[in-house]
């Protein structure tokens, strides 16, 4: 029995926990608006929190479940370690397996975050270079908009070990999947030019900044056609944000954070590794006595830590199933509303969206008026801080360098998110804040450093 207080009796005896099928709808009452507000009442009510994408959100009921796990450890840690931890982690992994349609729970490991997953996948490349399985100059490909930490990981584990890293240039704003597919094919060709192998492609499922949904299924297919050894999909924003069916997507590795869009507390993420002899060499970089027992087991014990955020996945599944349509319903509604809000803002400001609606998930990029004069990345940080401090609006801003010849280019895009706790007023406040800045003839250069 893995649950912290014995109340959630999903399993029979013998610790064989069978988590609820996350895709089936529970025949219970649906969560009400008041209940949703209550679940997120710990959010700073004065802030228009339209940035779920960065750090996610966690409802009270999951926080409570987490605290019960934490207390259980503190109460009798030895007993917790010997009797509760492993079954609890296994239950979480099984819940994830079901959500992502993986074949086997052995393919699912839980790690801190997508950043850690990247380190795991890339570290095996370092060994491959060092042990002569790869040749110096062999290639890894990633998107230009890959997350900063992933880029650094590529440097640390690939470039430093003798590999070459190619970036796929992606247009932004983007108007169709075809644009992305074309650029991707070009990058693969460049990579193969000197006859070297492309050992790894790292593809975002949903890029971070700027945020766009990438046609991963198609790109994975192209990778297979072009003989890329391994494909790693970095879907930090994946689960709870876009559809995740790992078999359909077909990548070798797939990672997603659970604390962004799946209501887990920080931090918990999973790394899916398709069953194959090729990948038995993955290791968690923090080595414990479980070294050599497989990545999932290694990841489940990396020394004394607080594993509670990894243990509440079943509680997050329960939370999600209180909504109409479960996680599918939440995704659908988030998407619909964020597109509507994006269009509302673009119309009010006379700007445009960064991509068509079908290329966005629960986030969308909305152009900011060019008269704000966002001229560099520092301006975006200044503007973001200004919006936070003076207007209580929390939203990340992306700087886009203008192309030559553009007249009055849109150089700044706000990445707005929609999650179940958001309200119309959040976006209206943002709309009005920008309109006020415009009418006050505010410009970024005028902000102090």
């Amino acid at each position: 029995m893995a649950s912290p207080d014995g109340k959630h009796c999903r399993s029979q005896t013998n610790g064989e926990a069978k988590p609820p099928d996350s895709k089936k709808q529970k025949i219970t009452e649906l969560i009400t608006d008041d209940e949703i507000m209550s679940e997120f009442s710990h959010h700073d009510a004065s802030v228009a929190r339209i940035n779920n994408g960065s750090f996610g959100a966690c409802p009270q009921s999951v926080i409570s479940a987490q605290q019960r796990w934490q207390l259980r450890f503190l109460r009798q840690p030895d007993s917790f370690y010997f009797n509760d931890l492993k079954p609890g982690i296994l239950e979480s992994r099984e819940a994830i397996r079901s959500l992502i349609s993986a074949d086997d729970v052995s393919e699912v490991s839980i790690v801190d975050n997508a950043t850690t997953a990247a380190a795991i996948v890339l570290q095996q490349m370092t060994w491959a270079f060092a042990e002569g399985r790869f040749e110096k100059g062999d290639v890894a490909v990633m998107l230009h908009y890959a997350y900063g930490a992933v880029k650094k990981s590529m440097e640390a584990y690939v470039t430093r070990a003798g590999g070459r890293v190619f970036e796929v240039q992606l247009p932004f704003p983007v108007s169709s999947n075809e644009e992305i597919i074309t650029e991707f094919k070009l990058a693969l060709e460049r990579g193969k030019v000197k006859g070297q192998r492309i050992r790894l492609a790292v593809i975002d499922h949903v890029t971070s900044m700027p945020s766009v949904v990438i046609p991963v299924k198609e790109l994975v297919k192209i990778c297979r056609e072009e003989g890329v050894d391994q494909v790693f999909v970095d879907a930090a924003h994946g689960i709870g944000c876009v559809d995740v069916d790992v078999k359909e997507i077909g990548a070798d590795f797939y990672t997603s954070n659970l604390h962004k869009w799946f209501f887990c507390p920080p931090s918990a993420a999973f790394l899916y590794c398709r069953k194959s002899a090729k990948f038995s060499d993955l290791h968690h970089p923090v080595v414990s006595h479980e070294y050599g027992n497989g990545l999932a087991i290694e990841s489940a014990w990396i020394g004394t830590r607080d594993y509670s955020s990894q243990l509440v996945v079943p509680s997050a599944v329960e939370f999600v199933n209180r909504f109409k349509g479960g996680i599918e319903g939440i995704k659908k509604r988030n998407h619909e509303v964020v597109v509507r809000m994006g269009e509302m803002l673009a119309e009010s400001w006379g700007t445009s969206l960064g991509c068509p609606p079908d290329m966005c998930s629960s986030m969308i990029m909305v152009g900011l008026p060019s008269c704000l004069r966002i001229t560099c990345e520092r301006d975006t940080l200044k503007l973001r801080a200004h919006l936070r401090e003076c207007y209580r609006v929390e939203v990340p801003i992306y700087y886009r360098s203008p192309k030559e010849g553009e007249i009055d280019p849109i150089t700044g895009y706000a990445r707005i998110s929609h999650q179940v706790y958001n309200k119309l007023e959040d976006y209206e406040r943002f709309r009005d804040a920008i309109n006020k800045l415009v009418s006050d003839k505010f410009t970024c250069p005028s902000l102090s450093a």
Partner: protein
């Protein structure tokens, strides 16, 4: 800069009309802390359990847990603001406190990591790179103790052996009667392990070994390392902070790690990694590369992706807790040592066994010989006996199986210590003493073993479920 500060939180709640803050319970200003206040601080510990294993997972008082919850809530409330405006200040504050506690020169020498296991990965990955990038020669070695923590041994396998380095294991005597025994054995082991043309690139030594647990004369051992040409020394002092006084300059090692959640009342998990001389840390990287990768180690360690950093932020709350005790941390350490030795002797007397080392080689833990009649004949027996004691007697204590007497000197004298029945002592219990322990905890253990003896119980009788 106080995550547990009532007034700031209440003020904020007022400002924002948000009444769902959990205010930290401010300790009453009555020093020193009373017995009943201590009981209250640890009232979450499971009742009915003689918890004499602080060494494995540590413990955390309610007031520090409270402070931690405040930090967690602050993040959840407005994570962007927290990340941009609060986190790095908080971590710097924690590092500064630690710098003071261990007599480091510069706060830049201190990084916070999850635990000693993580620190070992950081140091050993760097060694691994030395081999991969041919700065080290194949066959150059890393020295470790035979009783090194299992995770450290595996880490050496993963990063050193795999990269072409070799490993020299040094056996230390146990039971042990003086620090000179340890020093002699260590020097001998280093000399034996030397090979022509090969360099000792790193030595990993415990400050306080885990199983069996002994406080090692780490300053002397570091000197010997220098004498024998070891390039760098990494002290795995997982148990040290809160158990023994630490002066990293005096000890002189390049790297020193200790867990704050074992003996320093922090929640799981937080440890510090000290790296001598700022320059050293330039090539040290946290294995999880974030945007901060490439910046110095403390910064690279301070952000390893979105995580719960709250346990790293409560170091000052733990300090405050410690200061409520008479004599502060030093008082706690002195009393723990006095009490654990007293209880150890009490047990050894009752069972007719021995202690694994002299009092001056103990801190807050001591190894107590178990009666030979229990027939502990393997590591598995030790583990099963531990479970048996937990389930049937409500006693939580780790058991160590000690095979043949290992050190040269003991082999010459005989075959190891014997108990009052003349049988060989092959099992030792590692008892801990922390501020929440009471004499009854140890009496319970004493009586449990005596009852087992009366019933003519042996480890053979425990069936694995």
């Amino acid at each position: 800069m106080n995550g547990g500060d009532d007034t700031r939180n209440l003020g904020a709640a007022h400002r924002n009309g948000n009444n769902h803050h959990h205010s930290a319970k401010r300790p009453k200003i009555s020093l020193p802390i009373s017995e009943s206040e201590i009981r209250e601080e640890f009232s979450h510990h499971e009742e009915g359990v003689a918890r004499i294993n602080n060494g494995s997972f540590g413990s955390c008082p309610a007031s520090v847990q409270s402070a931690q919850k405040n930090w967690q809530l602050r993040f959840l409330r407005q994570p962007d603001d927290f990340y941009h405006n609060t986190l790095s200040e908080g971590v710097l504050h924690s590092r500064t406190i630690i710098k003071g506690l261990i007599n480091a020169d510069d706060v830049e020498e201190i990084s916070l990591v999850d635990n000693a296991t993580t620190a070992a990965a950081i140091v050993l990955q760097q060694v691994g790179r030395g081999f991969a990038e041919s700065r080290f020669n194949p066959g150059d070695s890393v020295v470790m103790l035979h009783c090194a923590f299992q995770a450290v041994k595996k880490s050496i396998q993963a990063y050193v052996t795999r990269a072409g380095g070799s490993v020299v294991e040094v056996e230390l005597p146990f039971p042990v009667t003086s620090k000179e025994e340890v020093i002699d054995a260590f020097r001998l082991g280093l000399r034996r392990g030397k090979q022509d043309g090969k360099t000792y690139r790193l030595a990993i030594i415990d400050h306080i070994t885990s199983m069996p647990s002994v406080v090692l004369p780490v300053k002397d051992l570091v000197s010997i390392c220098r004498e024998e040409g070891v390039e760098r020394v990494f002290v795995d002092a997982a148990h040290a902070i809160g158990s023994v006084k630490i002066d990293v300059k005096e000890i002189g090692a390049e790297f020193y790690v200790s867990n704050l959640h074992k003996w320093f009342f922090c929640p799981p998990s937080v440890a510090f990694l000290y790296c001598k001389k700022f320059e050293l840390s330039k090539d040290m990287r946290h294995p999880v590369a974030s945007q901060e990768h490439g910046n110095d180690l403390p910064v690279g360690n301070a952000w390893t992706g979105t995580r719960d950093y709250s346990s790293q932020l409560v170091v000052h709350s733990a300090m405050e807790f410690v200061e409520r005790f008479e004599g502060g941390l030093e008082g706690i350490m002195a009393r723990n040592q006095r009490d654990v030795v007293e209880m150890g002797k009490m047990l050894a007397d009752s069972w007719g066994t021995n202690l694994g080392c002299p009092p001056e080689m103990c801190a807050s833990m001591v190894m107590v010989g178990l009666p030979s009649r229990l027939l502990i004949t393997s590591g598995d027996d030790a583990l099963r006996l531990r479970s048996y004691l937990r389930v049937n007697y409500g006693v939580e204590v780790p058991i160590h199986y000690q095979a043949q007497a290992q050190a040269q000197s003991q082999r010459e004298e005989g075959d190891g210590p014997r108990d009052k029945d003349g049988g060989r002592i092959t099992g030792y219990a590692r008892i801990s003493h922390q501020v929440y322990n009471v004499a009854d905890d140890y009496y319970k253990f004493r009586d449990a073993i005596n009852e087992l003896l009366k019933k003519e119980f042996t480890c053979r009788m425990i069936f694995t479920e």
